[in-house]
Amino acid sequence: MHCENIQQQLDDYLAGELPEAGRDAINTHLQHCSHCQQVFLQTQKLLLALHTMPVTPARAGYAQRVLDFLPHPAGKSSLVVRRPLWFVSGFATAIIAMFVVLFLFPRPPSLPLQRAAVLTIHVASHQLHNVDLVFHSPMQISQATLRIDLPAGVEINGYARQRVLQWQTNLKQGANRLVLPLLVKTQAGGVLTARLSHNGKSRTFRVNIVTDATTSQRRSMSQHV
């Protein structure tokens, strides 16, 4: 039997799927052919290495992350999908206005780098505040995913007891304003996060909510991130 034929049957031989006559023929050949012997030993080593290859464990929170990514209709679930109703063009006066400029793309060199993606707002508890998040995009983005995580004791008006809201939306080039009517029910405040994802890239922005019982004036803050 030729070496080529032998090597074609080595897989079946190693799997124990050759009839006795075939096995005998290969055994005889291997005893006399150093080249096929080498191929046989290499295949054995290869199979052992493949069989014992360690599995990389999943990263912490994997299951929740992949499930959170699924769209959910408004209702019972902790994740809520809404049409992108809140994005409107231009700027408007709000009780508390926070202007956030973000890029999912490389930052233009003209933009300062020292600004962190964290802003602090001061609010009075048990009052409704319109907080504007303005996402400035350098280009049109289709089907971006926006996720808002609220701290305990902070609600979006009309979405009682819902800590996470997520939906898909389109961003146009320029400013895209999202108005969040926030109701802070405790003195504790907390951190609101807004995560925008698109094409495997994402950026998270944090809004540090500080309650201030003495705050009675409306504030406006404008900041680039």
Binding site: L46, H51, M53, V66, L70
Partner: protein, 191 residues
Amino acid sequence: MKKKLFSYFNRQQPQRFERQVRPHLESLHRYASRLTGHVTDAEDLVQELLLSLYRKNIDLDTLDKPDTWLLKSLYHQFIDFTRRQQRNPSRPNTDDLQNLLETMPDESARAEFLAEQQALQRGLQLALASLNPEQKALVVLHDMEGFTLNELATILDTPLGTLKSRLHRARQALRTQLFVEPFSESVRVTG
């Protein structure tokens, strides 16, 4: 009434889908990790698969063998995923693997056998990345995960003979990359 039912269905579908897929998430990650060779890509692959199944409103409870059905779906998703990555030269998998190799601890001094196995497995990661996705998936599922070729013929809807020859070529390619030295007798040019 119809609208009400539709609304009810929409509210129930996410919970039902999560309940159905949750028991399979671990094995899906395991296969995806083997197939992609990278933990982040594995997560992306599973995420893409789930999103695709969800949008198609797949009801796993109606399937006889949801685990093998999911494996088959993951396989097809992986083929698409790899083709997309190959079209996108900004994400070469081999770079990721190279990074992985550089950070892996070197325990080769402890025992010769372990050293050889480790070196082999490191080289194997790179060699696997060079296979075409169909070959790689077959090696992963057969040689690493232990599915028989007969099982895979059913799961992947592919003739047994095709799988056998695909596996033979894949192993041959891996052997060539792992064991053939650049100046060994078999490839040395004399004259």
